[in-house]
């Protein structure tokens, strides 16, 4: 691993936004391969952040700052990736369900997925089931990712799944759900395809859904 690549990796790990941007630009100026920067620098760092999170070593604050550093770097890298025709891992329509305004968890999932080269269509919070349906229809997404923080709003996940069925789109997409009050059991009950207990594991869930 080159020194610059190592610097990008560690600046993301420590959540140093400005440094990440500078190092990515420097590497690109020196003619580094954008897909190497993405895979061995950024995605590798975010994978390590995810691993530390799962081990209870990193928590939401570290994860958020790391994800923000990664996003900044990704912003600089993106045009080069398009030029180099680097493939996206998949297209994800994401949102917090109707009645729920809490979006920190959802945003974190979006950033982690983006850090794994997924293309994200973020519908925001308090998203009506019909808006999920329309977005799936328009973007031909591979995955619908729904979040809920409140026990009172999580039943709207099932309502959204039903709306996808009614629109005849359910078989075209994989549905994954997450949020503090959710369990694998609840995900199974409402007929979701996947569940992730946290933002880090959401990446693994998304990948396995598309591999299936």
């Amino acid at each position: 691993m080159s020194d610059l690549l190592r610097d990008i990796y560690s600046s993301i790990m420590d959540g140093r936004q400005k440094e990440t941007a500078e190092k990515v630009q420097e590497a690109l100026d020196q003619g580094a391969d954008p897909s190497v920067l993405l895979n061995e620098g950024m995605i590798a760092a975010m994978t390590e952040v995810g691993k530390l999170f799962e081990e209870g070593e990193y928590f939401v604050p570290e994860m958020l700052v790391a994800a923000r550093a990664m996003q900044t770097g990704l912003g600089i890298l993106k045009p080069y990736l398009v030029k180099a025709d680097v493939k996206s891992s998949g297209k994800v329509v994401a949102g917090t369900v109707k009645g729920d305004l809490h979006d920190i968890g959802k945003n974190l999932v979006c950033m982690m997925l983006e850090g794994s080269a997924f293309e994200i269509i973020d519908l925001g919070a308090d998203v009506d089931p019909q808006r999920f349906v329309e977005a799936v229809h328009q973007t031909q997404a591979d995955i619908v990712a729904m979040s809920a923080l409140l026990t009172t709003t999580m039943p709207n996940m099932k309502v959204t799944i039903e709306a996808l069925k009614a629109a005849g789109l359910r078989d075209n997409v994989k549905v994954m759900v997450g949020g503090a009050p959710l369990t694998q059991q609840y995900a199974d009950e409402i007929g979701a395809d996947g569940f992730a207990p946290d933002a880090s594991r959401a990446v693994a869930t998304a990948k396995s859904l598309l591999a299936a």
């Binding site: 604050p61 570290e62 109707k98 009645g99």
Partner: protein, 615 residues
């Protein structure tokens, strides 16, 4: 094949309760219906693992995914299950382990003592009636009304529930009586008839998500005769109000359970308080009850479903007066309960009450003041002249010692003071006993010390090269605060990375609220003349630690004022004076409520303040 039994008997040990239940329902729901206390922090979603029980005998549904995740194989082998996940397949004997029972901890009820002018809505009138004769055939009630009219010109009705015992009382008291008369905006009513000289009492109640504070007050002197704090019994239906709303949404019967359990606990406590001072519950002729909006709706049986989903609005927000008897409260038969106005879905009448206690209405509301009422929900109000900006956040129960690895309430043996010098930590406990855990104040000070000694980074990560920091398989790193040989229970007391994170989440939410209110009003923190910190936790809080960890901005400690249970104090004020009730209504009219989750800068601000700042 055997037919499914129509009911199953569950025998709960060690409390010795036997209940017959529908075989379809979970053990937790059976316990909830039967009024058996079993902690269910997540209200039965299978996430928290607090409703653990042990099956002594009988057959039960196979372990669910949640149980497999939350219990280890040894626990499952020993018959441990989660009550919310299992249903009985036969008659069963079930043991409730002590940790699954809600504790009867000490809770702080004292508040700020304030001088107010007495002007209660209920006043006593000493009456000496003329007994009926063949020449004077007026009914007992007319006799009473006319006697009252001689003392004050206004006509007075007699509350219907008072009539049931009126005739017997008047005769038993030889036609001497003390009538308790309540003044409404448009009428007067007799709410109780007592023997001459009987003291009229009132009751002020502050119902929090986690605990209740109940005050018995002498309405004629304003003195607090007795007070008590008890855990909110609704905790068995969910730790936070959202879980309880979800529980209520499932069945109207559940809403009734939430109401009933609270009223039952209140009645029991009132009874105890009255006995302790040698008076009768019937002497309580007026009550004021404050609580957050969800609690208010649970008590009054108003719908709560709309509170559980955006835009989170109250069903009813005006001041409310309800006959105590209609709520099921056992006080004077004609007594009324006053509920002050609500500010918003998540800024309830308890905050109205706290604003009143913090005197946001005095001097025409001059000056710039910040009120922070810390609880499971934290409400914050910034008063700038006549304007009040209010906000609320779910700061969680970490400050009460919950969700903390070695957390506990501020009971004897709880670490409340921590200092770390040259890598050596020293602690002081409540009551000076050997440490057995750490309370909210202690955890805050511990983190402040870890930060000061650079044992944790500004992100909250423990530095592995620092003394006392160790890595434990499966639960990340932790700091050894007191080693096993010095504790009261022979186990290490540690601060885990997760504990630090819990505090980061809570203090980040509070600080973000403070910052957004300040920026909304265009006020720099140093312009705030007074920082009023309320709530049971708020009054024990070490201010230097709170400022160091960034829960509050870095302003002079002298500007902070810790006032204890402000909501309870405000409730007492409203009990003792009609003017205070009117002031509360005026305060609410001046409040502009800000819904922070809809405030675009919130997330950024919250994330920023989850970190600790460099010194």
């Amino acid at each position: 094949m055997d037919k499914k039994p129509s009911f199953i008997t569950l025998d709960f040990q060690p409390i010795g309760r036997r209940v017959a239940v529908d075989p379809e329902i979970t053990v937790l729901y059976a316990a909830q219906l039967a009024g058996i206390d079993l902690v269910a922090a997540c209200s039965g979603l299978g996430i928290c693992g607090t409703c653990m029980i042990r099956i002594i005998n009988g057959s039960v549904s196979p372990p669910s995914l949640s149980e497999i995740n939350l219990l280890d194989t040894q626990e499952l082998d020993n018959g441990y299950r989660l009550a919310c996940q299992c249903t009985a397949l036969s008659d069963m004997r079930i043991e409730i382990p002590p940790e699954s029972l809600p504790g009867g901890q000490k809770l702080q009820v004292e508040g700020l003592g304030l001088e107010i002018k007495l002007a209660p809505v209920v006043l006593p009138y000493e009456l000496h009636l003329v007994p009926p004769t063949l020449d004077d055939l007026r009914s007992d009630s007319t006799r009473l009304r006319e006697a009252l009219q001689e003392l004050s010109t206004d006509d007075t009705e007699i509350a219907f529930p008072v009539l049931a015992s009126l005739s017997e009382r008047l005769r038993g008291q030889a036609w001497n009586a003390r009538a308790a008369v309540r003044t409404f905006s448009d009428r007067r009513e007799v709410v109780g008839v007592f023997p001459s000289g009987t003291n009229l009492l009132g009751m002020a109640v502050d119902v929090g998500s986690t605990k209740l504070a109940i005050y018995l007050i002498d309405l004629e002197t304003g003195a607090t005769l007795a007070q008590k704090g008890i855990p909110n019994p609704q905790i068995v239906f969910g730790e936070d109000v959202i879980s309880r709303i979800a529980f209520a949404n499932k069945d109207v019967k559940n809403r009734e359970l939430l109401r009933y359990r609270l009223i039952y606990a209140l009645n029991q406590t009132i009874q105890e308080l009255c006995m302790s001072v040698g008076c009768s519950v019937e002497q309580i002729v007026e009550a004021v009850l404050v609580g957050n909006t969800a609690i208010h709706h649970f008590v009054t049986f108003l719908p709560v479903e709309q509170l559980g989903a955006a835009p989170y609005v109250a069903a009813f927000s005006d001041p409310l007066e309800v006959r105590a008897r209609d709520l099921g409260l056992d006080i004077a038969p004609g007594a009324w309960v006053y509920f002050p106005p609500i500010i918003a879905g998540y800024v309830g009448a308890d905050h109205t009450s706290a604003l009143l206690a913090a005197q946001y209405h005095r001097n025409g509301g001059s000056g710039i003041r910040m009120l922070i009422d810390i609880g499971t929900n934290t409400e914050i109000s910034l008063g700038v002249g006549k304007n009040i900006y209010s906000w609320s956040t779910a700061s969680g129960p970490a400050f009460e010692g919950a969700h903390i690895h070695d957390g506990m309430r501020a009971a004897p043996g709880a670490i409340e003071k921590v200092s770390i010098v040259a890598g050596k930590s020293t602690v002081a406990t409540v009551g000076g006993e050997a440490p057995v855990g750490i309370c909210g104040t202690g955890i805050l000070q511990a983190i402040s010390e870890l930060l000061r000694n650079k044992i944790i980074t500004t992100q909250g990560t423990l530095r592995k090269d620092q003394p006392g920091v160790r890595s434990q398989e499966g639960r990340g790193s932790e700091y050894l605060l007191v080693s096993a040989e010095k504790t009261g229970h022979g186990r290490d007391i540690v601060i885990t990375r997760k504990d630090i994170n819990e505090i980061q989440l809570a203090k980040g939410a509070i600080r973000a609220g403070v910052e957004i209110l300040l920026s909304h009003a265009g006020i720099p923190p140093e312009d705030v003349e007074e920082w009023v910190i309320a709530g049971a936790f708020g009054s024990y809080l070490n201010l230097e630690s709170a400022v160091r960890i960034g829960m509050f901005p870095k302003v002079s400690i002298k500007r902070f004022h810790q006032v204890g249970n402000a909501a309870g104090t405000g409730a007492k004020q409203m009990l003792l004076s009609l003017d205070e009730r009117n002031d509360a209504v005026k305060i609410v009219k001046r409040v502009e409520y800000i819904e922070l989750t809809a405030y675009p800068e919130f997330t950024q601000c919250f994330v920023e303040h989850m970190s600790f700042s460099e010194d």
